[in-house]
Amino acid sequence: MAANALSYSLAHISTCSCSKKLSPSIFSSPPLISLTPRRAPLPSSSLDALVVRFPSPLSRRFRHFTASAASDNSVEGEAEVEDAEEESEIPAEGADVVAEEKPPRKPRIKLGDIMGILNKRAIEASEKQRPVPDLRTGDIVEIKLEVPENKRRLSVYKGIIISKQNAGIHTTIRIRRIIAGIGVEIVFPIYSPNIKEIRVVKHRKVRRARLYYLRDKLPRFSTFK
């Protein structure tokens, strides 16, 4: 791919040079530099490499301009490299001096991270109370729920997870089951303290993240004993 671009650019450059009467040395140098397999291109050759790879929209005048700029850049680039080296030495010394005086800085909490941190804390607190197993769409689970209205015993909900919505502490799963002939879908927040137990009974192979197609299918696909 590079070779093709190179050949095209060489042909283009040769036509340019014929019309513009410029010294061939300037035009011959850039393609050779761009052939080097080095990872980090020299600052002088990077612009040339770009020019070589995308030759089509450039006019001859622009090409001439870039060639002259490349020749200037080569001189400037070297000067810049020297300056950079000098500058890097000075701040390194300064950093050592500064580091000795102060203790290491605590990472600053940014405003956008606050909700994520709070959610993580809430999830950790809930996990300590009751660990939540890894749930995925297509798992057939059994959930034991304590309902304040139904004070007698734990209600048991069994069904297939048809969707999981991740929202930090309010991560919910949607369970579908055919109860007494009627399809029922219940959304449970898995980190709720009312849920006393979640147990994965089986797993059904599904190729989707949301199994809403089960609503249209026969009831026997949503029936779980």
Partner: protein, 171 residues
């Protein structure tokens, strides 16, 4: 049954509409100001948006009072309509020949199953696949003696304990 077939057909139609719209977004609409309507349509048709039980909603009757299905004529309590656990006034559209109610009678009913999800205080939501009602009298006591299918917990709070005791399964 006819109702659920009709809903499936309409869902298929709406899905195909959505498919057509998404394939050529601006080609068919042209003006950029219609993008908002396209966005709204997408929201509308991706998941069937279930709403309240209002006037002219057909509901299945799930007790043995004799009626087969009723049509809601008024939702008591609720400006937009009735939800799970609310009472409605309905008109019997079809009834079994020898039953406690006859066709054309105006009766009260308690909604025991609704396709619209109802949120519970712990953050969970429950929704059923159909809309169903249990006929009651003015005092709230069920006319029939049996209730078929699952009923939700919400009836306990609404003080429809008789229906809960008759129910086959409490969801």
């Amino acid at each position: 049954m006819a109702a659920c077939f009709a809903s499936k057909w309409s869902m298929a139609v709406s899905r195909s509409l959505l498919g057509n719209l998404s394939s050529n977004n601006l080609g068919s609409l042209g003006k950029p100001q219609d993008l908002t309507s396209l966005g709204y349509n997408g929201l509308f048709f991706q998941q069937q948006l279930r709403t309240f039980i209002q006037m002219r909603t057909k509901l299945k009757v799930v007790d043995n009072s004799g009626a087969k299905w009723v049509r809601c004529i008024q939702a008591l309590k609720g400006r937009k309509g009735a939800r799970l656990g609310d009472t409605i006034i309905a008109s019997v559209q079809e009834a079994q020949p020898r039953g406690k109610v006859k066709k054309g009678e105006v009766v009260y009913g308690v909604v025991v199953r609704a396709a619209m999800p109802r949120g519970r205080c712990d953050g969970s939501e429950v929704k059923f696949d159909d809309n169903a009602v249990v006929l009651v009298n003015k005092q709230g006591e069920p006319i029939g003696t049996r209730v078929f299918g699952p009923v939700p917990h919400e009836l306990r709070k609404k003080k429809h304990l008789k229906i809960l005791t008759l129910a086959e399964h409490i969801a």
